[in-house]
Symmetry: C2
Subunit: 316 residues, 2 copies
């Protein structure tokens, strides 16, 4: 950061190999990196808006495998995953800060990682405003995304009588993982949904404008994440599995349980899904209803109640 | 986060062991944890102020060793280190977000870690507003600190003719590390300076009010961090090693090179150090001058020019 932030330039760093590596990252980030180099970044929150902040860690062997993703994709996906949480709040991004733990063996891939991070942020026009670089044995990225919004969407706003809508078509990441686990190469479309998710920023802002009462992104799985909405909003959520939009080769039930989607699920009184899709170039599907009752998600298929699949749990 | 943020309460989480662990952390954080549980935290930046954000990672084996610190201290120190970067901008904290990668073996210590994080934030009256919890093989904490300030201090503001001031007494962390490396127990005072640094938030705000033109925290070492100020401000900085305040058992030159201090060094036209110390209960020492010339730090001892020690570099 500089004391003249209006020019958006980065300030000079001192000598050292760590700072040489930072300079390498900055060279790749180009105009995406703004005012990096002070102890902290300085940003403006537009008047009348509130700050939204979220942090998300991607650890080698936990959130990704080197055999599946190249370094560009690792950087892109970690950045997009964090920005997806901002989208779920209906917020517009104002910056990301990048904490990177880089093993010796990955140092020559720092440039590819940097390009992936840049492109993940550029997908939603977000600058990179700061970061921290550490050595370590395990490749790990913690991306903190900052945004602003006048009225944030929350998990806690779902109302009895609302309908439930989901963006996109689910199951692509699950299909990609299944292919990799069977030592097959996934289809380009499934691989892209896993490796290059697009944070649904514009769509979520559009859904908020159309009366969305709650929102969450599907990073742990549709039914698992809706369980958070049910708990936070103190409502019961009924999902019709037959209506869940899913890719070929993945069942509706698998799509209901699969995480890593980075699509958005919202509750709202009534949204014209066809017009939404025309406007945003993105599928929007009504998949269920909010009813009164003990907080939980009820899943049914062909009219028969079925057990909701569990979400991803790091500590099961 | 809730859609009624004014009450400051956390919202209900869904079921699962990961969320049980989050509930354990929240129980320890008590009122320090505010409005956690949505995809992102929502904060207010006071009108007329700018947002300041910084992120800092502490990795087991790189930034700390389990033999040296208990889990309370690991949590405290990581949090204080990040908040120290905010202090160096003259900012007042408004929240921290905590990304925690927790190996299986550390799960029973999560409570101690949580208490340390809480106390590190409480030291500067900062709430914990969000986070992310991952499993992984290596214990790692990435703490992102958010603050606000009307006019941030920068590394880039040092002016020819300014004097150089440092808070506190240096060398305690170096003495503690030296003791541990010799398999001795450090003195309580040296250990405390390593394990429980106090982010110099009030002091830095006080220094800004007294005309400080630039500031940086000494996490990589006094001369190494001043080299960043010199580079960013395009000035030469002359330090008189004999004036560097240091603990017994550590030489002035060692104190000049030792990192992990979390004290603040500022440049300013003229500050009454005695009055500052009375008001803040914290030493402030004039140690040098800003002069014209190629950007660098010049260190002298007994009037003779000596080489400045290198700072800590993760990638040397």
């Amino acid at each position: 950061m500089t004391d003249k932030p209006s020019n958006g330039r980065n300030i000079e760093l001192g000598p050292g190999k760590e700072f040489d590596l930072v300079r390498t990252l900055l060279a790749e980030w180009g105009k995406s990196a703004q005012r990096i180099g002070d102890d902290a970044a300085v940003l403006e929150v537009p008047p009348g808006q509130r700050l939204v902040v979220t942090t998300d860690t991607s650890v080698e062997g936990v959130h990704f495998r080197r055999e599946w993703l190249n370094h560009f994709e690792i950087g892109y996906r970690a950045t997009a995953a964090s920005l997806s949480d901002l989208a779920a709040m209906g917020a517009r991004p104002i910056g990301v800060v990048i904490a990177l733990t880089l093993p010796e063996a990955d140092r020559h891939e720092a440039r590819e990682l940097a390009i992936g991070i840049r492109d993940g942020a550029l997908a939603v026009m977000c600058p990179i405003v700061g970061g921290d670089l550490s050595s370590g044995k395990v490749l790990s990225l913690t991306i903190t995304a900052l945004g602003s919004v006048a009225r944030p969407l929350s998990r806690a706003g779902a109302k009895v009588g609302d309908r439930v809508y989901v963006t996109g078509v689910l199951g692509g990441p699950a299909a990609a993982v299944r292919a990799w686990e069977a030592a097959r190469e996934p289809t380009e479309r499934d691989r892209a949904r896993f490796a290059h998710p697009i944070p649904r920023v514009d769509a979520a802002i559009g859904l908020a404008a159309r009366g969305a009462s709650s929102a969450i992104d599907i990073s742990d799985g549709l039914t698992a994440d809706l369980a958070h909405v049910a708990a936070a909003s103190k409502v019961r959520i009924q999902i019709d599995a037959d209506r869940i939009p899913h890719v070929d080769g993945v069942s509706a039930m698998e799509a209901a349980g699969a995480g890593e989607e980075y699509e958005i699920v919202v509750t709202a009184p009534n949204i014209d899904t066809r017009r939404f899709t025309e406007e945003f170039g993105l599928e929007l599907t009504e998949i269920g209803r909010v009813v009164a009752g003990p907080p939980a998600v009820e899943l049914s298929q062909a009219g028969i109640r079925v057990s909701a699949p569990d979400g991803f749990d790091h500590f099961r």
